[in-house]
Point group: C2
Chain length 261, copies 2
């Protein structure tokens, strides 16, 4: 397979190197990733400045690698729209330093790179390590290769990608793999207010992760117990269940709009 | 009600002024919005630089307004976590210059401001005008007030917000309101490659909106026909329908991970 690898920690992060080189043992790998860390970038696109791609030679066994002065979504869009001569068969994003579970994924550049692949019609996987220490990326890389090979033989539903979180433990201590739903990952939304040297105020976001009791079948609980979590996520955000209820609200009648005479 | 108003076009955009001043005729309105345009910013958060909030007096009837050097999601988080003394009863984002329908919403700062409100537990609405001309924002503002008053008497399901798109026509030409699902809004993913004065290449994203035949009950078709579309969207991205199928994939067995002995 031709596999496009990207991430949001930047091309020089350890997680993408271990991932790309592991995938390259069996596949044709292209790495097109941001030139620096782009964490918490969400699914942002760069429309108001030019994008530049610069080749780098830092990966063993990889066909081609370059970094881009843009977001993870930019990298995947640019790779497929302008840099790669052929469409990749798969997009794999990661391995992110830090988990992307529950509500995290709304802010996650790692997931957004894989989601951009999905939007462009390519089977895609996002991988994150549930730790901010650079430990045991190899567990995620081993699993990524297994999952990519399995995905190559299966079909994902429309608009759906696989979001994987890896416990930060050696592969031989992993208890197994769980198919999960997104849990609820809560943060304290605290800002620290400081005063600068000219007497003006500024704020730092100081949110901290809260432990959260959650249901058994969530990604958060699975990873906490030492399992790899695989969550199918899709980008059709319509709340179909609520559609009919909403039709009973008092908004869907023309004379409720103040018609100007 | 205390209503927090934000957007992604920036606090000086015409859409937010018309919206905030209309809401202020019946409610206590606080405007906390980016200091400049933040389009296509997705659900990004600013973690690596300090945020500054500066008061402005440009809105009639509004209790308090300030701009922030951050993204739409930053504005809502900072407003609720640090600036406002009491929780708002509602978050309303817009009125965006340009539609946010179908896949657009993945990239939309307008939707992300409302989604941040939802994540923080506050009923929220995102509003966009289906035009890049500054015309007929008043249609959206009229409808926003109606919808906000209706929402105040109802309850949204967990994790759900209302995404509204307004046709760019006078209020008396609007055909009515349709409750819709997200359609598919396709773009050509074209990059223009140019060469700078030192012989280096750079790329501009030149994607253009494609007309797209879509199903009758989508936001895209409704707005095209002159209706206001209201789509309930939620941020639980788990693809529940696919969960059981995925359990049959050959990844959920421990010995499939290459255990290092």
């Amino acid at each position: 397979m031709r596999i496009l690898v990207s991430n949001d920690d930047g091309i020089f992060a350890p997680g993408i190197k271990i991932l790309a080189e592991k995938l390259a043992t069996e596949h044709e790998v292209y790495v097109i990733a941001p030139d620096r860390e782009r964490s918490a970038n969400g699914h942002a696109l760069t429309l108001n400045k030019p994008l530049r791609a610069e080749e780098v030679n830092i990966f063993d066994g990889v066909k081609f690698a370059c970094h881009v002065n843009g977001t993870p979504a930019d990298c995947v869009k640019l790779a497929i729209g302008a840099i790669l001569e052929e469409m990749p068969d798969m997009v794999i994003s990661g391995i992110n330093r830090g988990q992307n579970m529950g509500t995290d994924i709304m802010y996650s550049g790692t997931v957004s790179a894989a989601m951009e692949g999905t939007i462009l019609g390519i089977p895609s996987i996002a991988l994150s390590l549930a730790s901010f220490s650079d430990v045991h990326y190899e567990t995620g890389a081993e699993f990524a290769l297994k999952l990519a090979n399995e995905l190559a033989t299966k079909e994902l539903p429309s608009k759906t990608l696989l979001n994987v979180n890896i416990p930060a433990i050696p592969a031989d201590q992993v208890k197994g793999v769980k198919i999960t739903k997104l849990g609820v990952h809560k943060y304290t939304d605290i800002f620290e207010k400081r005063t600068d040297l000219r007497g003006k105020h500024y704020y730092w976001f100081a949110g901290e992760s809260l432990e959260y009791q959650d249901e058994e079948d969530t990604d958060i609980v699975a990873v906490k117990k030492g399992y790899i979590s695989v969550t199918p996520i899709h980008y059709d955000l319509t709340n179909y269940e609520f559609l009919n209820d909403l039709k009973n609200w008092d908004v869907n009648i023309k004379d409720k709009i103040e018609v100007k005479k």
